[in-house]
Symmetry: D2
Subunit: 362 residues, 4 copies
């Protein structure tokens, strides 16, 4: 099984290299009748786009998405939705340095071993540029979920040692850092400026939350909602950790403390992060991820070339000192894709389920 | 897509409820010619089995596995391998208490909302008993990988506040806690005794490591090796977090610190945990997980019944104060399943790949 | 992808060899709440069972099926349904003749080339005995469809040169040949007796029909209802041809003759066999298949042994002179599996579809 | 599962409507290192293109295919190959007649019931225009297979009552009808002229043959080589029947006649069509299909409109009197896709299989 598709019933397949002619995606399985325009997707793409702020790379990607199929007279038809973004900014750069030399911390060395050949320009397929298509596809999922009252939001909660002490979800999209704590913004900006000066980078932490998810989504025992979410988030470039609910903090918790007790008026806590036994509980689904500091820095490092010889390397060009910022819309997109897929899966098998038990989270 | 299968080319499908007649699995895609006996599987199952030590539940599960197909004259034939364990220990218990009352922190409430019906006896399908089949299937994967020089090992690295300061892999299977630090064993045993007295439970942390994985395994962009590993480990009962390499520590790292520099004699560090761009680098694959404290405790808690009325609940019966201990062999099994699947996937598409680049991790 | 699973949302995975310890299946994706007992499955199995009549092989297979999971208090729970039949009739036969010699027309030679190893006893996995599990799984599908008013029936329509001139569906299950034309039964019985005397076999033709299928099932462009049906039926042992509606007769038809005209009172014909553009039209779904004469005959033939040497071969033992007879319940089962899968698929994506267009087939 | 993907390891996903902005495909799983250019694909597309001869529709489709990804410096890289054809010939036609009226024999009525909405222009997604992408993707598969000495060829063997008495494979691509019998060409041309005059159409029969397929490809028990081939061919627009080897003729054959006897110098016949037990035998793989006469004819017929009222209908515009002709390259493409997928599947699981048995078909 080649690995460029995500989802079972709402299936997204992406293609395209960083410096190839274009990026594309096919969204297969979108229910018919959804009002959809290129503007819907563009809005999400613009949020992810670098060159937005002075804290993300200066590369000017127009990222203008076209819908090539599956939409007729403004509505989805149930047939596959083809999406395309032309790569307009392919300046002929000098790639002779990285053509035969593997940048440490990148996928250059591993692609060489896997495929024996690679499009080295800008990282080719391994570039974060590929995630533009995830954002476009995710915007369709997000729109479907919004109709069911489900809202997905992500926020930057830590950059290096600077933590957001709280998340004001109203605030998140008001600042270029997608940070929910106004007090953390200035220190983060200062850190970025310093990193730009040093030619270094730093890691980040992101929180994602989905509210309005009804109880019953998720397919035990392997395709659990949290397991699929873990895969979705770990598949984002630079992500090294995914946790749900209290995450690693559960290690020191006791059972009497962790279990989310229930009353007819609702759950008394949400340590579980909205998932029990791999199935949504109706509480907000909550997850956190860690993103590594990008290895594209201008401080010289040791590496090898294609033939195994030692070589020094410096990554030149436009790069983010904290890739975590740009990842926020991607995290929202991937979370949306997981949820919409599980919605359709639940509908397939359990459309006629009836229970006397109330949804205590409403 | 129903969710009871794992893997694409080495596909495991499990079935069975905790207190039903039996547990079973089908392993489809095992290459022919592997020497395989029931003893190979039993050894792995015995490691997972409760009643092993006084620290895990006293339930006596014989867990005797039978191979029903796919093996002829001691060798796999390439046809599906059917596995079965009869549930011999189905004492007629009194389930009237949990029949209509949802235990907090369990899947009772979510199964009710998903399916409208559930086998409440011992948690039914949501019981950790299901993982016995994962261990049996994983033992086949492990044997295939061993022939390629790949070794998968997991260890308990933390229980509550007690940390293993190191992992002596030789030591891990010598003690009932699968702990790699002899100094941590006694404090852990003391904690367990105390928890048993209190009727409470505690969380745990497990490290898993795979050595000998060649560079090139993993399918970008979605089916990355680390993404599939995240899903596999998050699908284990009680797991709330998965990290690869330095995990959440990367948040505060700088790029100059994190990137694993390379020389012709090897990598200078392994912050990445053996995966770059979703593809194995040849370094040890390293991951950590967090397991929540079980909610099956004898301290009374608040919950609701099937009709939404408030009810107190106490979980009686045999339960582990720390389910993390028993999870160690399951973690090894799931890691093996991910690796063997990616080995076959790599072989399918890239069997003829040639490169001049040496494997610097050898 | 190993090939022992069928279906996407109602997924059946089978395992087991003809002379191994048992046959089994996992049915994953059955909606919860269906009343289901072992008797439901046994009835279908008994129809397929050899030793039923004097026209099918005398082998006494008890074929007693057990439900191992997924059913609780008489109803399906939405979790995977494990099915098992123990092979009680494994007399220790003398297989030395076929151990190293490939029977012509069988899978012996191709299994050897594929796997390099094979369970030669009774054909191992390639034996039609495997289809018992398809029948058991199909019975679950059939029960689900029956609740929606869908009825699947197959009949033997030709044996050698003897054709059934009509199909009286009431008659089909009244005779051991599943033939819908009472006038054809005696000639067919005479032919069978003659073949038994000669030690030879003959081919057959089967018609299958599904009534009550609503318009809208089938997923263009690849997973069309007729394409999936073609795969399902061609996957049955000995089947060499599948046609839908008028089948090969369309070659000589004109467009003005073939197109099924429509009026508000219904279609004026059903040349299409109930499928247009890969989607059900509401008319009866109709298909025909051809089954080859079994190669298990007692007339000596030429073949080679494992090392490529010429060898004569005679197949001894109990065999059907016309395997087409026993295939009738298998054809019904596979058709049911295709339909139930497409029902769930339609429900997943198009559960909320509304149209002003009446279903003219009602 | 949405249905717009074909193949497991060499996976093709298509999108696009007849009169939408473009048609596209993603080929995921192509091994790296294959030399590939747009010319390779264009050659195959040109063969399928209407407007080629005066016997196929006059519509001028440029069908110029672009490769958008997955190829670098003239070679495939192992990443997904994006393909695109812009629809340049979208004249603004008058679709008011078919907007609300269902053409009999087309998918109009069934799409309405399935999706509740449809792109009615030129049949939208149900148009045979979609198959252009199959041909483009198939050309990649064909090139991979050619490197292994495998050759796939199809020919028109019957049109209406006119049969090709033989197939001279050298001749097939020399004439616009893809007919292998020079004596049948003139009568077929005469028939087409007559149909054009009458405004009617006729059915056709096509044979496809693959030589050089080694023994061992195909995955029992469901994903048999012939079962997957049946699905692939039945998924082509207008196909109503698929047979392998002797097809429906086996009904009247005896076992002593049908079984393909073997000697050390090869098989003595090929009644099976190169597949035994669902696995290739090394003999030529042979299949036949029937294509219905197109319902796009200018003879008035009865139908209903969107609200269920009776309406007369005449299909105007450019249409083939025998769609079977254009289907020949599509049949080759789909056969190639099946074979390349099974090659990769065989390589995944059975790469290390060894046998002492010679391949008697060489």
């Amino acid at each position: 099984m080649p690995g460029n598709s995500f989802g079972q019933l709402f299936k997204v397949t992406t293609f395209g290299e960083s410096h190839g002619p274009s990026l594309g995606a096919v969204v297969d399985g979108c229910p018919p009748g959804l009002e959809l325009s290129e503007e819907d997707l563009q809005e999400a793409l613009d949020r992810r786009r670098p060159g937005q702020s002075r804290y993300t790379t200066a590369r000017r990607e127009a990222d203008e998405v076209r819908i090539l199929s599956g939409v007729f007279e403004g509505k989805t038809t149930g047939t596959p939705i083809g999406l395309l973004i032309e790569n307009t900014d392919q300046r002929s750069q000098d790639y002779s340095k990285i053509k035969d030399t593997f940048r440490p911390g990148h996928a250059d060395y591993t692609y060489e071993h896997k495929y024996g050949i690679r499009d080295y320009r800008g990282g080719g397929r391994s570039s974060a540029r590929e995630t533009a298509m995830r954002v476009a596809a995710g915007a369709i999922a997000e729109k479907l979920l919004a109709q069911k009252g489900i809202k997905i939001q992500a926020a930057l909660t830590q950059m290096g040692n600077i933590k957001a002490e709280q998340i004001d979800w109203q605030e998140v999209r008001n600042n270029e850092l997608f940070c929910g704590d106004v007090n953390a913004i200035e220190p983060m900006q200062t850190l970025i400026k310093q990193l730009l000066k040093e030619g270094d980078s730093v890691g980040a932490r992101i929180r994602v939350q989905a509210t309005g998810v009804p109880p019953g989504w998720g397919e035990p025992v392997f395709d659990r909602l949290d397991a699929d979410l873990a895969k979705a988030l770990m598949s984002i470039n630079a992500v090294k950790a995914v946790s749900v609910g209290d995450g690693f903090d559960v290690v020191t918790q006791k059972g009497s403390e962790h279990r989310d007790e229930m009353t007819k008026n609702g759950f008394l806590s949400n340590h579980s992060g909205g998932v029990l036994g791999g199935i949504s509980s109706g509480q907000p689904v909550m997850a956190d991820i860690a993103l590594k500091p990008t290895s594209s820095i201008s401080i010289s490092g040791q590496t090898i070339d294609k033939w195994g010889n030692d070589q020094p390397v410096v990554t030149k060009g436009r790069h983010d000192p904290c890739v975590g910022i740009r990842a926020v819309p991607i995290v929202e997109a991937m979370t949306s894709l997981v949820l919409v897929d599980h919605w359709l899966r639940q509908r397939a098998q359990n459309a006629q389920v009836k229970t006397e038990t109330p949804d205590i989270s409403r």
